[in-house]
């Protein structure tokens, strides 16, 4: 009896300390979501401006022929950029991204292409290493707080590979799998084609002004397109970071809830065991006293 009591007490202690950890993780994640959302908002003016400038350029110079806009059907190798987190403790966040990436890779193979993984975040890296697969490129160490320099590094590598042909070890198209932050409760995994850029025909009332170009339209486009690609990647990294924090908050919240429930169950069991021990002791004493009284009466 006493042994069972001790065991339960120990279990309660250990669950309580786990609950403390998950509770702290939850609060950290909550505060980081706000920061991540602010970072998304702060990056918006730049992204909007650069999109507007590209729109202006492309709509006035339809004939512009830039390598980053060109389809490369002869190149069968395609890059798949997979954005995951560096740390776990975030529920299904990484599993979802990797599952989507797997189905994209399968779809690409069926089209006769050769998908090449470009990985962001430790989790994708360990997943690929464990399965002994080839990794084309990897970046880690910034998944929860990406800086523009990180996006720049990724963008430069991807653009450089895109401009090379298959024979030189380049790629024909670039896909990205990342997680879009929809709201605190919803984050959805997105699969996008980053390059070549798709030009959409839209009927807008507001036609961008007819710009003059300094020095020439070609030079401006040369400069703008890589900047645009980097800004897109930065946006995706920021969205993924916000999603990572939201997933972590949710996972840690349910872990804390479960721990508290477990503590309740164990406490009840412990009280029951204690009561049983006391009852047994009393009945033993009463039984003993009766036996004594009976024997003394004779």
């Amino acid at each position: 009896m006493a042994a069972q009591l001790r065991q339960l007490r120990q279990q309660i202690r250990s669950v309580k300390s786990t609950a403390k950890i998950t509770r702290a993780q939850e609060m950290i994640a909550t505060s980081r979501i706000v920061k991540a959302q602010n970072a998304v908002a702060a990056s918006k003016p730049y992204a909007d401006q650069i999109t507007q400038a590209i729109t202006a350029l492309v709509s006035h110079h339809v004939s512009i022929d830039h390598p980053l806009l060109k389809e490369q059907p002869e190149d069968k190798r395609s890059a798949v950029l997979i954005v995951t987190s560096d740390r776990g403790f975030c529920g299904g966040y990484n599993a979802n991204v990797i599952r989507e990436a797997e189905s994209l890779i399968k779809a690409l193979r069926e089209q006769g292409k050769e998908p090449l993984p470009y990985l962001v975040g430790n989790k994708a890296l360990t997943w690929y290493r464990f399965r002994d697969r080839d990794i084309e490129a990897e970046w880690t160490g910034f998944s929860d707080r990406p800086a523009f320099a990180d996006a720049e590094r990724i963008g430069q590598r991807l653009a450089a590979d895109f401009l090379k042909t298959d024979a030189e070890g380049g790629v024909g198209e670039i896909h990205v799998v990342y997680t879009e932050f929809v709201s605190m409760l919803t984050q959805s995994v997105q699969v996008r084609r980053l390059l070549p850029l798709d030009i959409e025909e839209t009927a807008r009332e507001q036609v961008p002004p007819a710009y003059e170009f300094e020095p020439t339209a070609e030079t401006v486009l040369d400069q703008l397109l890589p900047g645009y690609v980097e800004s897109r990647i930065f946006h995706m990294l920021l969205q993924s970071a916000a999603s990572e924090h939201a997933s972590r908050r949710r996972a840690m919240k349910s872990a804390t809830d479960n721990a508290n429930e477990l503590i309740g169950v164990y406490t009840r069991q412990m009280n029951q065991a204690r009561q049983a021990a006391i009852t047994q002791e009393i009945s033993e004493i009463v039984g003993g006293a009766d036996a004594l009284a009976d024997s003394g009466g004779e």
Partner: protein
Amino acid sequence: MATLKVGLVSPEREIWSGEAKMVVAQTVEGQLGIMPGHAPVLGVLLDGSVVKVEPADGGEWISAMVGSGFFSIAGDEVSVLAEHAELGTDVDVAAARHDLEAARAGGEEDSTAERRARARLRAAGQEA
């Protein structure tokens, strides 16, 4: 008098925005002064140059170092977008000097790092 609506942004945040009388930027081909009523232009900034803004409220000129970016003028709106941008008042002069020395020691003539360090010093109002 008409004023320009100016926004100076980097990918991570908005560096400065407000009304201005005049903006001076440097492209690869030379300096360009922008006043209200300018024709729409999309231009490439010289990597490692200084953009100057004269605020409409008559305050002091604002200088900022910019690296790798472009600017657009449309109507009376001027947007300066730079992958690296820093206001002159935020520049750490000692660090910039150190960078300049390091870039010079690198031996390359007119390297980007050297130009950027110089631009940071100039934006801070220091001799470079």
